[in-house]
């Protein structure tokens, strides 16, 4: 896996002996990734998996330049990570949306256009065209005039996706975009991202709870756990020995009915994770309440 580091030209993300920690401020920092080296090539669709707290969000935050590694070196788009990089589209995992927000979709999306600059947010005709084009690309054009409060969870997710795609980034970081979506919407979102990214040769890091949600779309899988990371194709990584090391417990991998099940002592670890976290029924707008357990993970 480290062999790819030589091929610097085609790499969008490079981690060189990187150690990442969470909770640094109160002196109780916990390393979530230890001495990880890997390289992700341009145009790859990477599924990011692993148990809660394995460092999926932390890794994305480090790539965004929001946290610095404790050790090692990260390069993103051939430069050190920097906050507000226009080359990166991002869909955060914690998405605080007020349930009664009456603002329409267009203004919601437009808020992110040069949103970090001072002054009055006036949009140019070109800005509006870009927004419209991106909304059309994800099939969400009808959402631009509707208030957020009237949208379903799936519709909001499409809006957020459009926003991450705005300005044609070279790298997309999607942190658990399938959370709070119905099963048929999950498939649609994966297909949508896959199609959009492939057309434009965009690199995608797509974190999810269940491998089977992504298995048809991904090029390689990045499994995190126990401080370690394993990057490779599904047959390389999703094996009993590799995953047992990542979970720190004996793991079985069972192929059945076209699906892959990752089992620990006969229990499906991914699915039980999922149910434990989000089993209490999401309706729109209340997402953030349900998973602060891995807000910093």
């Amino acid at each position: 896996m480290t062999a790819d580091l030589k091929d610097a030209g085609g790499n969008v993300i490079e981690l060189d002996h990187v150690t990442l920690a969470v909770g640094g401020r109160d002196g109780l920092a916990r390393n979530v990734l230890i001495d990880v080296s890997l390289a992700i090539r341009r145009g790859e669709f990477i599924g990011v998996l692993g148990p809660n707290g394995a460092g999926k969000t932390t890794l994305m935050r480090a790539i965004l330049g929001l946290i610095a590694p404790r050790a090692g070196r990260i390069r993103v788009l051939s430069r050190p990570p920097r906050r507000g990089d226009a080359g990166i589209g991002y869909l955060p995992q914690v998405r605080t949306v007020q349930p009664d927000l009456r603002v329409r979709g267009l203004d919601f999306i437009a808020s992110s256009v040069r949103g970090e600059r001072w002054g009055v947010p006036l949009l140019s005709r070109a800005d509006l065209m870009t927004i419209e084009k991106t909304l059309a690309a994800v099939g969400a054009l009808d959402l631009s005039r509707r208030p957020l409060a009237d949208m379903s969870g799936g519709e909001r997710q499409r809006l957020l996706l459009a926003q991450a795609l705005l300005g044609e980034p070279q790298l997309l970081l999607l942190d658990e975009p399938l959370i709070s979506l119905d099963y048929h919407y999950q498939e649609a979102v994966v297909d949508l991202v896959r199609g959009f990214a492939r057309e434009r040769n965009i690199t995608v890091l797509f974190s999810a709870h269940e491998l089977n949600q992504l298995v048809g779309a991904l090029d390689r899988v990045l499994y995190l756990g126990n401080g370690h990371a394993a990057l490779g194709t599904v047959p390389e990584v999703v094996t009993a020995p590799v995953l047992s090391k990542l979970y720190g417990a004996p793991i079985d991998v069972v192929h059945a009915a076209g699906n892959i099940f990752v089992l620990s002592r006969g229990r499906d670890v991914e699915r039980s994770d999922h149910l434990h976290d989000h089993g209490d029924g999401h309706d729109h707008g209340h997402e953030h309440g349900h998973h602060h357990d891995h807000r910093h993970a």
């Binding site: 965004l64 929001l66 603002v103 329409r104 001072w118 005039r145």
Partner: protein, 281 residues
């Protein structure tokens, strides 16, 4: 008939002053209040009014104009609140205790300032009919500063209000924006308190924007509608007080509540107020 009433009303200097002062404060409150409601921080507006009461009475006690005490205390409190946390929770017991304490201090200051008993009512419930020309100029200047400051931080403010996590990732100094905004709210509360008093700032700062957000889903149409509704409610309130001899602040708070609950009806009963952006559902 109505025109005769209006001209009769405007014969009086104090009525003209009241309309001018209320107009300035209403527009500032309507615009700033729109963002307050957008951010779900209406409780902060309420809290700042209470804290301002202690500032205003304290200022009177040491011989300053109450407005400057109001501004000093609310701005300091606004900055303090911003530094304490990203989002104020309406259920926070600590804030409730601090509010009660602020009102208590206001009472204490009044207790020692025995010369002017009507000051308390004026501060708590407003006294727009006593506004003079000097105060109008002060309110206009203060209003201009408030709106200019709001314009300066508007873009990151909207971004951080709608999508705090993404705004942080994109490099918006979320904490600074939040602190600066609460300082701006403090200025608007000080303006609004001159008209409707510290206890009724909700009538101008929350009622009109909440109504506007029910009627218009566009950002700019929402802001414009909020300012317009605040202005109409303030002016109609003064006119109503003139006709009925009821207190002005009561009339304004009545209209504010009426507007809000009308906007919550399934179908808008005032078709003229519906912004074009409301569009297809």
């Amino acid at each position: 008939m109505a025109i005769i009433t209006i001209t009769a009303m405007l014969e009086y200097d104090f009525m003209r002053n009241a309309f001018a002062a209320a107009g300035v404060a209403a527009i500032v409150s309507g615009v700033v209040g729109y963002f307050l409601v957008l951010r779900g921080q209406t409780f902060a507006g309420h809290a700042l009014g209470h804290i301002g009461f202690a500032g205003a009475t304290g200022a009177v006690l040491i011989g300053l104009a109450p407005l400057w005490g109001l501004i000093g205390f609310t701005v300091a409190a606004g900055i303090g609140m911003g530094l304490m946390g990203e989002r104020l929770s309406g259920r926070d017991v600590a804030i409730g205790v601090v509010l009660a304490l602020a009102l208590g201090f206001g009472l204490l200051f009044l207790h020692y300032y025995t010369a002017f008993a009507s000051q308390a009512t004026a501060l708590l419930f407003g006294d727009v009919l006593a506004v003079d020309r000097g105060m109008i100029a002060t309110l206009a200047g203060l209003g201009a500063v408030t709106l200019a400051a709001l314009a300066a931080i508007m873009r990151p403010l909207i971004f951080a209000s709608l999508q705090p996590e993404l705004a942080e990732a994109k490099g918006v100094p979320v904490r600074f924006v939040s602190v600066a905004f609460l300082a701006i709210v403090a200025l608007a509360v000080s303006e609004s308190a001159q008209i409707v008093g510290v206890l009724l700032v909700f009538a101008l700062m929350v009622g009109p924007p909440a109504t506007a957000q029910r009627l218009a889903s566009g950002l700019w149409s929402g802001i414009a509608l909020s300012a317009t509704i605040a202005l109409l409610e303030a002016w109609l309130g003064i006119a109503m007080a003139y006709e009925t001899d009821w207190p002005v602040s009561f009339c304004i708070s009545l209209l504010s509540a009426l507007g809000y609950f009308l906007s919550r009806l399934p179908r808008p009963t005032r078709p003229g107020m519906v912004a074009p952006e409301q569009g297809a559902r």
